[in-house]
């Protein structure tokens, strides 16, 4: 007696179809799993047997062989419990399979009492299931929203018994399994981030806040330099609060990464991620890897912000590994067993002190660093990496907080800034003709030529500045991209001199290095 149940396997964040085959034969009772199972899959035997018994099903006293096809790829995870249990019930004749075999794809972990537990990677598996033409997906309740988001029909239940009941008589219980589109609640309400941290809490520091706004509007990477305790982290942590809401495609891609890693079954992720690894982070934890080629912080920050506090304290090799994701927006991890590609498109926010003692250029405190020490301090991060960071701003202690009030700038709440940012981002999406990940920071050199149209006076100003400050070709592109964003924030189609002038403000680190 043979049974087939369709399921999915997970490799990185990609899924591939797995067919669970189960054979019952006469002989000494036993249970074997083949098809390169890892420990979690092999242990499913105990969970499946206990769950079946506790749900009141019979366990056949036969020799049980489970095969997970294709046989050559390694199977990981506990989500094969449910398909194996269903295959066992079918093979032993306790349920019939004509109505659903090959049409439904199932995943789920079983508790010993038959309850369904959430699993990793549901979103990715549901995407593949839809692509492969499955009619519906059977998933644990906690994963239902995730699966539904890709537009496939979803069948769910609290326990194995409920799933079996549905498979026996779909008409009687079908209604419980229809879900509304999980996106609708979100987009109709258009909730802002639930972050309690607000930009209005930062007094003064107009220039730094403006840089954060530009960074959010054009997805530009940002360096914040300043003495200890000035509020560099405070500013950076408020950046996600002014980022525009994610598009549908972005939500799916971000959820796909997080769902492949964590098991909570928290549903779709609408908040842009904010990741702040400590500077002792290893290379693998930052870019991903390990025996199972897990995604690293750069991928977990996809669509959001990667904040590196005290960036110069990071291991140099770790920092340099950021170069590929910063220019390709993805990371390829090759290991002996697997080669996996993860998306990694994030806004890099790096905070650093202006010198080892932290007081270089401070209005009152003396700096005790020799020029040589400052040079070697800055040389911990390479030029090519710095070249990929569009905005550099310096924060300084000031007694003057009233300028902000007087000119009505800098006292704005995050929500107000966010509105402006979202409008600017919308302009960029229209210009680039796509909704997902359309921002000025991602403009290619060809697109820069096409979209960054300068007025003639702005062209003159740029030419002069390039000569005076000895800007490289990449440096010029950076200025152009940033001025494009500044113009977008102002709703101006062409780039004017004032936009170029403002963009030139955000070169604090270049200036600091040149002054040595």
């Amino acid at each position: 007696m043979l049974a087939h149940v369709s399921s999915m396997g997970l490799c990185g964040i990609e899924s591939y179809p797995v067919l669970v085959e189960l054979d019952l034969s006469n002989g000494l009772p036993g249970y074997t799993t083949v098809g390169l199972p890892d420990d979690a899959v092999r242990e499913s035997r105990e969970r499946v047997i206990a769950a079946l018994r506790n749900c009141g099903f019979n366990l056949p006293q036969k020799k049980i062989t489970v095969n997970l096809a294709p046989g050559q790829s390694r199977k990981e995870g506990s989500h094969f419990d449910l398909p194996i249990a269903l295959a066992l019930l079918t093979a032993s004749g306790q349920i019939t399979s004509e109505s659903w075999e090959g049409k439904y794809c199932c995943i789920g972990e079983l508790a010993l009492d038959g309850t369904l537990r959430p699993v990793r990677g549901t979103l990715s598996m549901a995407m593949r299931a839809r692509q492969d033409g499955f009619k519906a997906m059977i998933v644990p309740k906690a994963n239902a929203a995730e699966a539904r988001a890709v537009g496939i029909e979803v069948v769910t239940g609290e326990t194995l018994r409920e799933i079996v009941d549905f498979l026996i008589s779909p008409q009687s219980s079908r209604r419980d399994f229809i879900f509304s589109d999980p996106f609708e609640d979100f987009f109709s309400a258009s909730k802002p981030g639930k972050s309690t941290e607000d930009m209005a809490e930062i007094k003064g520091q107009t220039l730094a806040k403006r840089a954060a706004e530009i960074s959010a509007a054009g997805a530009h990477n940002l360096i914040v330099m300043g003495p200890p305790g000035i509020g560099k982290s405070m500013l950076s942590r408020r950046l996600p609060g002014i980022l525009p809401p994610m598009s549908r495609g972005e939500i799916l891609e971000v959820t796909r990464i997080h769902s492949a890693r964590s098991k909570e079954g928290s549903g779709l992720i609408f908040q842009r991620p904010f990741r702040a690894p400590h500077h002792s982070a290893s290379l693998v934890s930052l870019v991903g890897g390990g025996p199972a080629a897990k995604p690293g912080e750069v991928s977990l920050a996809h669509g959001g912000v990667l904040f590196l506090d005290e960036v110069l304290e990071f291991n140099r090799a770790t920092l340099e590994a950021l170069r590929q994701p910063l220019s390709d927006f993805k990371i390829t991890i090759s290991r002996a067993k697997d080669c996996v590609e993860y998306p990694a498109r994030f806004i890099l926010v790096a905070a650093l002190n202006p010198c080892p003692c932290g007081f270089r250029g401070h209005p009152t405190k003396p700096c005790i660093c020799s020029p040589k020490a400052v040079l070697s301090y800055f040389s911990r991060v390479s030029g090519p990496l710095l070249d990929r960071i569009d905005l550099q701003v310096e924060m300084f202690p000031l007694d003057f907080s009233d300028w902000a009030v007087q000119t009505n700038m800098g006292s704005e709440s995050s929500a107000e800034i966010r509105k402006r940012v979202a409008r600017a981002r919308f302009k960029q999406q229209e210009r680039m003709g796509r909704e997902d990940f359309a921002a000025n920071a991602y403009l290619t050199p060809q697109e820069i030529k096409r979209h960054c149209v300068l007025s003639s006076s702005a062209m003159d100003a740029l030419r002069q500045a390039a000569q005076k400050f000895d800007l490289s070709a990449r440096g010029l592109d950076r200025i152009l991209k940033v001025s494009r964003t500044i113009a977008d924030l102002e709703d101006s189609n062409s780039i004017e001199t004032r936009h170029i002038a403002e963009a030139m403000n955000y070169r604090a680190l270049d200036k600091a290095r040149n002054s040595l």
């Binding site: 003064g204 520091q205 107009t206 220039l207 403006r210 202006p354 270089r360 250029g361 401070h362 209005p363 009152t364 405190k365 003396p366 700096c367 005790i368 020799s370 020029p371 040589k372 701003v393 310096e394 300084f396 000031l398 003057f400 009233d402 300028w403 007087q406 000119t407 700038m409 100003a461 002069q464 500045a465 005076k468 001199t497 004032r498 170029i500 002038a501 403002e502 030139m504 403000n505 604090a508 200036k511 600091a512 002054s515």
Partner: protein, 372 residues
């Protein structure tokens, strides 16, 4: 004194033992001359007024010094050694009891009115600005700026002098072949190109021992008729220099700073003890001894005050220039002071910088660019 080859070598050998008092060594040279080496240590002790033990050490140390080779190397690197008693030996040092027996000079040395500018190695931006301003004004009044080529104030003073095509002398605390700090190599080249010089009383290869720096301070003050202290802590080398200067009968000047800055301690202490408070360069010039006015020198400081701001600029730019004045101010301070909005301010600052009227400093601060 007659300087034969033999005499030169003897003097150089004696000069190399810089741990012993210059007076004792000078006595030996004057009374015994070249016959010195034949005399036993007991006679040395008697003549120099030293104990037998230290006279023995002095003799041992000086005899082992290879003066012939040293003179050859001095010649090869294009430097000179000036001996006390020779014609070229600086007039100002001659009168001093502790003057060095010989001094190594790389570059040109000439008769000059010199002002020393000294201060901390870790100055605030204010200190740097003051050092650079007074050095520039000193140079334009025809003075030679003397300092120690150390980091901080010394470097600023030398640099401002060089940038304004002025003469400046750097007195080292190490040998000429052991330039310290090494990052000032380029600056030292510029000093020589501009007709200044590097000098040191220590043998060519002498290391920058900590004890050498207070010793060279007596030369810095000795060469000058006045010493200007810019910034320094309560216990600092600048105070030592100022004390020696007073003992040598030189004028001491101090630039005040913010009272809550530890780096203002030294200048304020000096002012309370009678040093002259300097707020303008005229304060220094008033004290210059009459003998120093050999030629007509005129103070030509081009200050950027209201009348000096180019007429063609827009109102907001004129306002910014006027507001910045002689300080370096942050972006927001300027914005507040001039009552400008963000976008006008950023484009005005950019254009002023492009026109070369202001420069940006570390810390996103802006200052008026000084013109000569």
């Amino acid at each position: 004194m007659d300087f034969s080859n033999e005499m030169t070598e003897t003097a150089l050998k004696l000069n190399s033992a810089f741990n012993f008092s210059p007076e004792a060594r000078r006595k030996l040279l004057k009374e015994l001359g070249t016959s010195l080496w034949a005399k036993p240590a007991e006679i040395w002790a008697e003549v120099a007024g030293l104990s037998y033990a230290s006279a023995g050490k002095l003799k041992e140390e000086t005899s082992s010094f290879d003066a012939v080779k040293e003179l050859e190397r001095v010649r090869l690197m294009g430097a000179r050694v000036l001996f006390d008693g020779e014609k070229d030996y600086p007039e100002t040092l001659k009168s001093l009891p502790h003057a060095p027996l010989a001094i190594y000079v790389l570059g040109e040395i000439h008769e000059a009115n010199s002002l020393a500018i000294v201060g901390t190695r870790c100055p605030t931006p204010y200190g740097r600005r003051m050092a650079s301003r007074f050095s520039r004004e000193g140079v334009s009044s025809g003075l030679t700026i003397v300092s120690g080529l150390a980091r901080g104030i010394d470097t600023e003073a030398h640099r401002a002098a060089v940038e304004n095509k002025g003469k400046t002398w750097a007195v080292l605390g190490s040998g000429l072949l052991n330039l310290y700090p090494a990052e000032n190599k380029k600056l030292s080249d510029q000093i020589i190109e501009n007709g200044g010089c590097l000098m040191s009383e220590f043998p060519l290869e002498s290391k920058p021992w900590p004890a050498c720096f207070p010793m060279r301070n007596r030369i810095i003050s000795g060469l000058s008729w006045g010493v200007l202290v810019v910034e320094g802590k309560e216990k600092s080398g600048s105070l030592i220099t100022a004390r020696i200067a007073a003992e040598q009968g030189r004028s001491v000047f101090a630039v005040p700073g913010p009272v809550d800055s530890p780096l203002s301690e030294a200048p304020h202490l000096l002012i309370s003890q009678g040093a002259k408070l300097v707020t303008r360069f005229d304060d220094v010039l008033e004290e210059m001894p009459p003998s120093c006015f050999k030629e007509e020198t005129q103070v030509s400081e081009r200050s950027l005050f209201a009348s000096d701001i180019p007429r063609a600029l827009s109102l907001s730019k004129r306002k910014i220039l006027q507001f910045i004045g002689s300080q370096a101010l942050g972006f927001e301070e300027i914005g507040l002071g001039c009552g400008l909005d963000f976008s006008t301010l950023s484009s005005d600052l950019f254009e002023l910088e492009m026109d070369g009227l202001i420069i940006s400093e570390p810390g996103q601060r802006y200052a008026i660019k000084k013109r000569n």
